[in-house]
Amino acid sequence: MKGQGMRPADEAEVSDMLRGASGPFALRGGGTRGALLAGEVLDCAGLTGVRLYEPAALTLVVAAGTPLAEVEALLAGERQRLAFEVPDLRAVLGRAGVSTIGGVYAANASGPRRVQAGACRDAALGVRFVDGMGAVVKNGGRVMKNVTGYDLVKLMAGSQGSLGVITEVSFKVQALPEAEATLVAGLAPEAGLAALRRALGSPYDISGAAHAEGRAAIRIEGMAGSVAYRVAQLRALLGGDWQAVEGAASQALWQGIRDLQPLVGKGAALWRIACVPSEALCVPNALAAAGVAHEAVFDWGGGLVWLSCTEGEGGRIRAALAGRGEATRLMGAEDAPPFSPPAPGLAALQTGLKARFDPKGLFNPGGLV
């Protein structure tokens, strides 16, 4: 890392800086979740401000460096929220810092409610960014339905700063539900995960389905009468002993799952595995068979497995998945690459896009693309 880094105050400054720059830069929001890469830090936290918030249209336009907490407080004041329930990974990753909304979008950071309301990329309506030549690009907008031209809003979501400096994002927001309840049962992973899939296959509109620390949890949100009705129906459907947890206690339970509290201070390596839900146990079972100590949090009904274990297990994890999912390492040092290597045709498309949006290779070398 050289110098003190740069901290532009607005989009025009970002553009000016990049026009003549030779980089490389490590783009940074709050440094709370992304890979900490080499290069001069380009700190985006100075790009702040809410551009537009229309509660009756469920739309929010906000500068990328605006703290997530500020956005969440603004929305809460109108009894609204970001539907995709952003995880706070600071404790589990051992980070400090202030999470920014642009960082959330660049990571496509999405929590338990994805099973019902979609990911961050699904709520994103528009984006402004500055490419590697310093050109300001906008795509999408502030309306919920927009198929005008290519959807670069999706391309930039989860791009981890590889294609440009994100300066502004628009989101569709969601009204807070009148009530919420969570059904909890002490179950071994296999039985617990089967129950989650059963619930997700029911018409009861599940907004969270997770298993951690020997308990399965199923969340229902909506109007009070409807929540009570669905709690009763799910109990009848699933059988066994399901305790209902409501209101603040339910919220606290999901915050714990969202932020991976069961994995804080555990293994030196943290893996994120996206897989077919019914295959959620293939990696934990393989580690158990090899006698490797590990702990898992299963979210999205088993479609997302967070795994904490010792370093050096990447090879075993990817072998166990065998084409049934993808494993990404968020923490821990080892030879296995953090991302599953893409197939050759796919890799060519990714590097082709990188070369056209960032021809000088300014952004996050050694990162996603």
Binding site: A135, D151, L152, A157, A274, G345
Partner: protein, 477 residues
């Protein structure tokens, strides 16, 4: 509407190109006879037609790849086609192009209820995807009004929406993965039955790329458990403004109906004359549909009707049974047919911020008087996606041009108030020349760079989406 001059080098090689396609495809998969290619000369934007060089109708991903390799090698443009229901000319051929129709590729490859996905060939129709899973209590959510005929391939190309996307999202929110065949004939898998592929979200950019980045031959789609029931309520109001306020209040109250449909007076009258659905005679009409068990429906409708009553509705009618629900939807569902009875029409598709609705409808009324053409408005009010229907007479010289000029003014208005040119139909040829209204040169350049990567020779559906002047250098290369 301009299209590039067809390449003489291609037209003169027609026989050789067809022979090469026949060499790699089954005999019945290549059509060149004018009698047969006539069926592919246009899509649902039928004002524009052009016979293609040839049509290929593959049955497998391997056949798609084989056909594309020949066309790539010959430098022939390819126009991918689903069922040809595009309202934007997305599947309209040029004289020097090969149409690649996927309609014979309609198989269900896998259904997995435990993991809630279906894997289909892309030519399968939207409604028949639901048809394949509904006996087991599931459905595929996006429901464009052409769902009986339209193909999943076209839905993905245009990122199609529908009346129920307020709750369930549009195609991109329900698409898990695709098999994409590039113009070079390479077969690539994007996404799959699980949620995230590491790396850039190429699936997200392919969805809605109007057949310009590759041909989607197979798709993994999310299927959802069917709700226990659904019921609409019909509300009539004395003005567009009041109806607009009612929509805002429903959303503001945190209620999420599956659909909020809006019709204005000209449209209500046409529907009433055509379908006799028993709609009230009023300025603006809303149909709001909610889902769930009987008790849940009652709970939501009670909250919604309480809000509606604060806006002095001139009519308020909750469906009491299935037949009643059907009748409430009848008029809305026949809106396009009803307008078509009166005259030829052009259907627009802009989206506006919901808060600007009354102002935009007032301006559309003014434009209607200015141009001397009648307009009816149907509208997915929850998400601001409008469908103004401009009536014109195709047999009156100059009427189509006047109608298009008025349509362009309406779409510019949509952009001006913070919206966009198209909410669910796509750009195609119809809105191609208006793209500069919404996007600056750098914005279009960024999008065209994506096509440069997927289709360096610009052979896939090349004369669409981007203004011809903007894409000229690329298409020539």
């Amino acid at each position: 509407m301009d299209m590039p001059v067809p390449a003489a080098r291609i037209l003169s090689r027609k026989a050789q190109i067809v022979a090469r396609l026949r060499a790699v495809l089954p005999a019945d998969a290549v059509i060149e006879d004018e009698e047969e290619t006539r069926a592919y000369e246009c899509d649902a934007l039928s004002a524009y037609r052009c016979l293609p060089l040839a049509v290929v109708l593959p049955r497998t991903t391997a056949e798609v790849a084989a056909a594309l390799r020949v066309c790539h090698d010959e430098g022939v443009p390819v126009v991918p086609r689903g069922s040809g229901t595009s309202l934007a000319g997305g599947a309209m051929p040029t004289e020097d192009s090969v149409v690649l129709g996927v309609m014979r590729m309609n198989a269900v490859l896998e259904t997995d209820y435990d993991n809630r996905f279906i894997h289909v060939q892309s030519g399968r129709t939207n409604l028949s995807v639901t048809g394949a899973v509904e006996a087991d209590g599931f459905f595929y959510a996006p429901d464009p009004s052409s769902q009986l005929a339209c193909a999943i391939a076209g839905n993905i190309a245009m990122n199609s929406g529908g009346a129920h996307c307020l709750k369930y999202g549009v195609t991109t929110n329900n698409l898990l993965g695709v098999t994409l065949v590039t113009m070079q004939g390479e077969v690539i898998t994007l996404g799959g039955p699980w949620a995230d592929q590491p790396g850039l979200d190429l699936l997200g950019v392919v969805c809605g790329s109007e057949g310009q980045l590759g041909v989607v031959s197979e798709a993994f789609l999310r299927i959802l458990p069917k709700p226990e029931g659904a019921r609409p309520v019909l509300m009539g109001f004395g003005s567009n403004e009041v109806a607009g306020e009612c929509v805002a209040d429903i959303i503001r109250a945190g209620i999420l109906p599956v659909a909020i449909e809006f019709m204005d007076r000209p449209c209500i009258r046409a529907c009433e004359a055509f379908a006799k659905a028993g709609y009230p005679d009023c300025e603006a009409l809303l149909i709001v549909e909610v889902e769930g068990s009987e008790a849940e429906i009652a709970e939501q409708l009670a909250a919604i009707t309480a809000i509606a009553r604060r806006h002095d509705p001139v009519a308020l009618e909750e469906a009491v049974d299935e037949a009643h629900a059907k009748r409430i939807w009848l008029g809305r569902k026949s809106a396009f047919g009803a307008m078509g009875q009166i005259n030829d029409y052009m259907c627009l598709d802009g989206t506006i911020p919901v808060s600007t609705l009354p102002m935009v409808l007032r301006r559309i009324g003014e434009l209607s008087r200015e141009f001397g053409l009648d307009v009816g408005n149907v509208f997915h009010a929850g998400d601001g996606n409008m469908h103004p229907l401009i009536l014109y007479n195709a047999n009156t010289p100059g009427d189509l041009e006047r109608c298009e000029a008025m349509g362009a003014e309406i779409l510019k208005l949509c952009v001006e108030v913070g919206g966009c040119l198209t909410g669910e139909h796509g750009v195609g040829i119809e809105k191609r020349d208006l793209m500069a209204v919404q996007y600056a040169p750098a914005d279009l350049e960024a999008q065209m760079r994506v096509k440069d990567v997927f289709d360096p020779a610009w052979l896939l559906n090349p004369a669409k989406v981007f203004p011809l002047a903007a894409s000229a250098g690329r298409r020539a290369g």
